[in-house]
């Protein structure tokens, strides 16, 4: 078990930047693959509202990561997965 590092700067950047991109990707997944698909009436508003809670949860909970490096790696990985899924869904569904 490695020791806990504060790394407040790298964790903040990881949380606010990767948290935002992750939130966009997850909201996008919901928009593309969720009920009603991309063009359901007024769904885009709900999709936009999804972004803020996901982003802010990541940005506030990011400090639990053991180190700034771990935060960047995990969130970077989550981003890759989410954007990969988004790309796949769009190829498959549209």
């Amino acid at each position: 078990m490695t020791e806990f590092r504060s790394d407040w700067l790298s964790k903040s950047v990881a949380g606010s930047v990767f948290g935002f991109t992750l939130a966009i990707a997850v909201a996008g997944l919901f928009a593309v693959a969720g009920p009603g698909g991309l063009e359901a009436r007024n769904k885009y508003q709900f999709v936009m509202w999804l972004v803020a809670p996901i982003w802010l949860c990541v940005a506030s909970l990011v400090f639990f990561f053991r180190s700034g490096r771990a935060a960047l790696l995990w969130l970077g990985g989550a981003n890759l997965l989410a954007f990969g899924g988004l790309y796949l869904c769009r190829r498959l569904l549209h």
Binding site: A31, Y44, M48, S60, F63
Partner: protein, 551 residues
Amino acid sequence: MRGEILRLYKSVHTWTGLVTGMLLFICFYAGALTIFSEPLAHWASPPTGGSISVEDADRLIETTLAARPEAAKDFTLRLATASEPARLSWRKSRNDDVVWSATLGADGELRVDRSNVSGVGAFVDTIHRTAGLPLDRETGTTAMGVVSAVYAVALISGLILVLPSLAKDLLALRLTTNLKRMWLDAHNLVGVASFPFHLVIALTAVVFGLHEPIYDALDHVVYDGRLPTIMRSTGPFAGVKRDEQKAPMKTVAELVAVVVSASPNFSPTSLHYRDADTRGALVRVIGEDPRFLSRGGGFAVVRGATAEVVNVDYLPEKQSGWTAAVSPFFALHFGSYGGEPVRWAYFSLGLAGAFLFYSGNLLWIESRRRTARRHGEKVVQTTAARLMAAASIGVCLGCVCALSFAIVSTKWLYGHVEDVDAWRRGIYHAVFFGALAFALVRGAARAGVELACVAALGALALPVTSAVAWAAPGLGPWAAADPESAGVDIVGLIAALCFAALARATARRAERGPTDSVWSAREASRSARSPLSSNGCAVAVGADAGDDIHG
């Protein structure tokens, strides 16, 4: 490891809170006032008199459009209320900030002037959205969207901090002589008790401030640039083509009736016309239905020429699907549900929020306090702590004073200057920055007392203005005897008493409290005295400092 995580979260909470606290104080204080912006605007608007029957609304539209044809493209008709006649307002073009308004006088004569009526409400709302930053409304709102995101992080990190000892500490308000402990308990109690409120406010404020960048990002990444098209095709006006051919409009009463028959508890307050007097005319019938969580009211879209209902997606009772999923967030931010009790609850929660941020700053100062016991009797507080204390006093009390004077000035300036709004903004900024500079120069201890006195005077100025209007009608302000205006005066009087009590308590602390604190006014004068008299002080300090937690 758990201790280390909590320590990191403590600094996250401290710094995010410190950076946003003062701006949020302004937003929350002004936000609490916006809950009652209608009575405030009513208090500050000149009596209009004139006719208030529904039939006159049609005549108002007709005569205004005859005199000012440019209004036909886009205007709003505010329906008459018990105390106000119907009013028509428009702007000459989309980019023009000046709002014109027209009413019918008691004699049936059309009166057109620059609108200052919704002025006070809109002014307080702008301060609420932009924290009174001297930026334009859009930029200020976006900036506060970013601040709100930081505030959300401060909020969640604060919850993480209190969670481990929640059961033990929550209901313990230790009113002991240990001041820091007491402030901490009060801060935690208010914070945890109103946590759901703050979470909703933070989340919605982020969306209100940053929805455009978020939509842009989604448009690029998810919608391939088709988002604007999707928005238009499902928007409330979708499916109706513009048609410039002339056509008579249905009467106001008919347009209102068709919406009310679709949703009987909906009470329309205003009608927004687009392309009036053409076949493609659309009217948004806007109103309220406090039984539902909706976006601060709601609206239905009706064809002006046929009174056929086009869209009910935003009518509180009829909203469905995705619109219904989003509307509660608006309602939970605005407190626009449940009527009066909820409004008063939001007013109190807003003020409690302002207290939360103020007490957070106090805690920061208190935990950096240099005590006489540790640092010797001639202790001087750190520059950071003194600046922080002065800035907190200057910003918080400055905003309180500035809002009172700006609101009161409306009543004195009306009729004397042309652009009341510009004057009001000028007065707000002059008082606010004046108070901030004063506090920084004078120090927190003295400025705290003096600015609290000014805040009391500012609040007292509301009932005094009304009293002057009664006693000396020639001076300018007009008298208003209705219960709504009287309510504003009473709240002003109560606020004045509260600020006076605050001034007294602060003065007592500055005079008699421990000298090893930023809140002591004796700190500076003491160093100028002879060593002999400072011995006398040291005895008094020793007696007080025994309660200090740093000891």
